[in-house]
């Protein structure tokens, strides 16, 4: 239950508890101090009374001499209405105004209570220093002090209670308004849906403690939004990519079937359909490959590879194409890595294919590698504008939008697949470009 309490109530309760403890301590200290003060006052009063009594009873040593001074004593006592006196000597009580009660016998100041009345009792010999001197017990009625102290204590309890209540209320209000940014955060979080991923927390108005959280929250929304955008774009792109070949297939098949035709026409139509179908099958296979990568199912083997050998094999594979395009292929350096031969060949083949496609005649594609392991594929030709660079690895992204329409041989998944393969190897890939050159950089972890 306690765990479910709201932060504001929790803070309010803590405030209240703190105030209660502080005011309780202050009250107790004040109570103690006033009690000590009263004792001091009583002591002084009793001392002065003792002095007066001693002078009145000076020289009294026997009951007879006491009787002579009794009138004088009474007169003295009548001036002290709250004082009661008991005088005893050698086991006899010469005077006993006190109600029948047992008094402490030791000398000094004592407090005691009898029949609802509080007394301060002060025991002292009549003549100091004389062991057989008559013994005086002065009893001072201090009920009014005690009443004051009791009132005091009630007041303290009341203060404790009221201040705790007040701080609880004030604390709740303060906590509530202090936590307002948190609530706003909650509102924004609650308002986030697939349609409102663009909403952000106003970071600059946040208190320091929450700014960091807000920043993390905003960053999360940013990533979520980005991933969501890509995903939606991906689905839309799939539909779009499939629409063109599908509509070709539909139209062509329907047109062919509308009337009898020579055999050759049917064959031609089927061939054309076959091309569309193969393109679609390739697209589906590529997408399945990417889906597999997304689910972490792309598990590359870890075999020691000489990247130079792999690149040479690939360059040999691409040699004819390069020759046709009048582009020279160059390898520079060598490196060793552990990885999956088939996957890395596929990744590099996509890069080479891509590079060849954008290199003008007379240009060059250069593959460079250094141990450690960095591999770059650089081609001459028109550079790629910087804002487009991170998008190159997006699925279905084509640097040249004019290629988009029609079932060209390329679906634009090659670089995405390359990226997936590099990532599955624990590496990263990025693209750099400048005027007249474009370079893809693959960084693979070192051979273990």
């Amino acid at each position: 239950m306690i765990k479910r309490l709201s932060l504001a109530s929790r803070l309010a309760l803590l405030f209240a508890a703190c105030t209660a403890v502080v005011s309780l301590i202050a009250g107790v200290l004040f109570n103690r101090a006033s009690e000590a003060h009263f004792i001091e006052l009583d002591q002084q009063q009793l001392d002065s009374m003792l002095v007066a009594l001693r002078s009145t009873l000076q020289g009294v040593e026997s009951p007879a001499s006491f009787a002579q001074r009794q009138a004088q004593l009474r007169a003295e006592l009548s001036r002290q209405p709250d004082l009661t006196l008991r005088i005893s000597a050698a086991g006899q009580r010469w005077l006993d105004d006190a109600p029948s009660m047992t008094l402490p016998t030791t000398p000094g100041l004592h407090s005691l209570q009898n029949a609802g009345t509080d007394y301060r009792v002060y025991n002292a010999p009549l003549t100091p220093g004389q062991p057989d001197s008559p013994h005086l017990s002065l009893m001072l009625d201090i009920t009014h002090h005690q009443h004051f102290l009791q009132r005091m204590q009630r007041l303290i309890w009341l203060t404790v209670g009221l201040s705790a209540l007040a701080t609880a209320l004030l604390g709740a209000w303060a906590a509530r308004s202090g936590l307002r940014p948190l609530r706003r955060m909650g509102e924004v979080a609650a308002g986030v849906s697939a349609h409102s991923l663009t909403q952000r927390l106003p970071q600059q108005h946040m208190p320091v403690e929450l700014a960091e959280l807000a920043q993390a929250f905003n960053a999360m929304l940013e990533r979520l939004d980005d991933a969501f955008q890509r995903l939606s774009a991906f689905s839309a792109d799939i539909a779009h990519e499939l629409r063109t070949p599908l509509s070709n297939l539909l139209t062509q098949t329907q047109v062919i079937l509308t009337q009898p035709r020579p055999l050759e026409d049917y064959r031609e139509a089927l061939h054309s359909n076959l091309e569309e179908l193969q393109w679609m099958a390739q697209l589906v296979n590529d997408m399945l490959y990417l889906a597999k990568a997304d689910h972490g199912l792309l598990m590359p083997k870890r075999e020691p590879l000489s990247l130079a050998d792999e690149v040479d094999a690939l360059l040999e594979f691409f040699a004819l194409l390069a020759e046709d395009a009048q582009v020279s292929l160059v390898r520079e350096g060598s490196a060793h890595a552990s990885g999956d031969r088939g996957m890395l060949r596929r990744a590099l083949s996509n890069l080479l294919d891509n590079a060849l496609r954008f290199t003008p005649a007379g240009g060059e594609v250069r593959v460079r590698m250094v141990d450690g392991v960095t591999l770059t594929v650089e081609n001459t030709g028109e550079g790629i504008p910087a804002p487009l660079l991170p998008r190159l690895f997006d699925r279905f992204y084509r640097a040249d939008p004019s290629r988009h329409e029609g079932s060209s041989e390329h679906a634009g998944l090659g670089l995405a697949i390359t990226q997936s393969i590099v990532r599955a190897h624990g590496g990263r890939i990025y693209c750099e470009s400048g005027p007249g050159w474009t370079r893809f950089v693959i960084e693979l972890p070192e051979v273990i």
């Binding site: 061939h271 193969q278 094999a313 594979f317 090659g414």
Partner: protein, 226 residues
């Protein structure tokens, strides 16, 4: 050559059987696993084509039963899912090859022929020949109609592959895999370029063309009748 196809999707099964029959194989098609397993164990087949998902007993179970019965028939799997576990599982159980749907029929045919050839050890040939084209494997020389043809190493390998499998339509992916050891579907037209180059040397100066393009499927080396 007798083949057993166990495939529960009627359309796929029908076309597989038709295609394989037309390619010269004797085929039997079964749609459920239990019946398929019975036939696989009792019929005398040269190759099994198994779908993974089947009613009755699935492809894995049939393969297991076949292998534990001590039969060494080559098995080709057709799977709809390209999950790594599937592949590992299949290869552990003793599958010889697998194809992931969607696949091209020409690819399937090429794989089937490869598997069937695997068993029979071909005699050590020293030369391959078709019509007036002759490829000397020892001296690594190619002649046509008595004229020497100079080929690069890859062109030689490509022509050797076409000659060894003359009459068979070879898909581009198979050529890439056999000649360049590139075992992935590449959408580049490298193979087209390579074939064009080879044609230039082998066919262009001769009246009879031997290298033919089968549109949408691949290339074949044969003395064309039509």
């Amino acid at each position: 050559m007798k083949l057993l196809i166990v495939e529960d999707q009627p359309k796929t099964g029908h076309y597989l059987r038709q295609g394989l029959n037309e390619a010269g194989f004797t085929t039997e098609l079964v749609a459920d696993g239990t019946h398929g397993q019975h036939l696989a164990l009792t019929g005398d087949y040269d190759l099994l084509i198994l779908d993974v998902m089947l009613p009755g007993r699935d492809g894995w179970q049939i393969l297991q039963a076949v292998r534990s019965a001590g039969l060494d028939i080559p098995v080709l799997f057709l799977t709809a899912r390209d999950a790594v576990e599937d592949r590992v599982h299949g290869l552990e159980l003793g599958a010889d090859d697998y194809l992931v749907k969607p696949f091209a029929f020409s690819e399937l045919l090429a794989r089937v022929r490869s598997l069937l050839r695997r068993g029979s050890s071909a005699p050590q040939e020293t030369a391959l020949q078709l019509a007036d084209l002759r490829l000397d494997l020892i001296r690594r020389r190619v002649e046509r109609d008595g004229q020497r043809i100079d080929l690069t190493a890859k062109e030689f390998a490509l022509l050797e592959l076409l000659l060894r499998r003359q009459g068979e339509v070879l898909p581009k992916s198979l050529i890439a895999s056999q000649v360049w050891d590139m075992n992935f579907d590449s959408d580049t037209n490298i193979i087209e370029v390579a074939i064009r180059r080879l044609r230039l040397k082998v066919d262009d100066n001769f009246p009879t063309k031997l290298i033919h393009t089968v549109r949408g499927m691949g290339y074949v080396l044969e003395e064309h009748v039509n």
